[in-house]
């Protein structure tokens, strides 16, 4: 990336936004590369250098994050699979299990005791909890599961 090349970074970010939109039909690498005004090969290399993962790895991670949010909101595993752009329930479940550590159904069950589920995966307000140590973390977990 050239000296203080903000436009190039901006276009790369625009391309990343396209790839992050899991609700739209799969955006090809070629389309994303054009958004960044780069050839596909150069785009993949540049994307990996700036964002630490290939466009494909990024899109997969975004799809799984979206899947976690939708599962937390109570959508069925099959619906989530389709909504985040997977065509096969088997491959979705296998990938989800490999990356998240539990199956989509298990992940959803672990949140089911919650009455109110926000559309993002909760985590404690870290600084406060860190100061409070294990006891504060236990209180957060208990409170979260009651909500």
């Amino acid at each position: 990336m050239a000296r203080d090349n903000r436009p190039a970074l901006f276009h790369l970010c625009r391309a990343r936004d396209l790839l992050a939109d899991v609700s739209s039909p799969a955006v090809s690498i070629g389309v994303a590369a054009r958004e960044a005004s780069l050839s596909s090969c150069h785009f993949i290399r540049r994307f990996a250098a700036v964002f630490g993962e290939t466009p494909h790895q990024f899109r997969t991670r975004e799809r799984l994050t979206a899947a976690q949010r939708l599962l937390a909101r109570g959508h069925s595993v099959t619906d989530v699979c389709m909504e985040v752009g997977f065509s096969s329930l088997g491959s979705f479940s296998a990938l989800f299990s490999r990356r998240i550590g539990v199956s989509p159904a298990s992940y959803q069950r672990s949140l089911r005791c919650s009455v109110f589920v926000p559309d993002w995966t909760p985590h404690p307000p870290s600084c406060l909890l860190w100061m409070g140590g294990d006891e504060a973390i236990a209180i957060f977990e208990k409170t979260w599961r009651r909500r």
Binding site: M1, R3, R6, G52, E53, L129, W130, E141
Partner: protein, 127 residues
């Protein structure tokens, strides 16, 4: 009252820990699970051992929006001091770090900006 922790949002905590330790050379100080994420802090071997940088997940929509907006506009989210910025830039480039601004004299300081691969631009400066 004193400054003990500074946090930055990262889009992937594993990736962030690798970048900040293996590429930047910081040391892992804390790493334990908290809720659905982890409490990860690193310190600089060139700075005080109890001044910690928290690698905080950007799971909240506002956090990712904030990160994305700064990145698009080329604005660094924080800055680290270097005693030898040109050597530092050479060292990081050799490891594949991408700079969006080469070392540039700006008044009394020389600054450079790089991508931390986790959705942030980081400025380094030498006084």
């Amino acid at each position: 009252m004193r400054i003990k922790l500074i946090s930055i949002f990262v889009d992937d905590q594993d990736k962030a820990l690798r970048f900040y330790t293996e590429l930047l050379g910081f040391r892992k100080k804390q790493d334990f699970p908290v809720g659905g994420a982890r409490w990860i802090t690193v310190t600089s071997p060139e700075g005080p051992d109890d001044l910690e940088l928290v690698l905080e997940p950007n799971g909240h929509p506002a956090a990712s929006a904030y990160q994305s907006a700064l990145l698009k506009d080329g604005i660094p989210c924080t800055a680290f001091e270097s005693m030898a910025i040109h050597d530092e830039v050479r060292r990081l480039k050799a490891k594949g770090v991408v700079f969006t601004m080469e070392p540039t004299v700006a008044g009394k300081v020389t600054i450079a900006i790089f991508s931390d691969t986790c959705g942030n631009l980081i400025q380094i400066y030498q006084q």
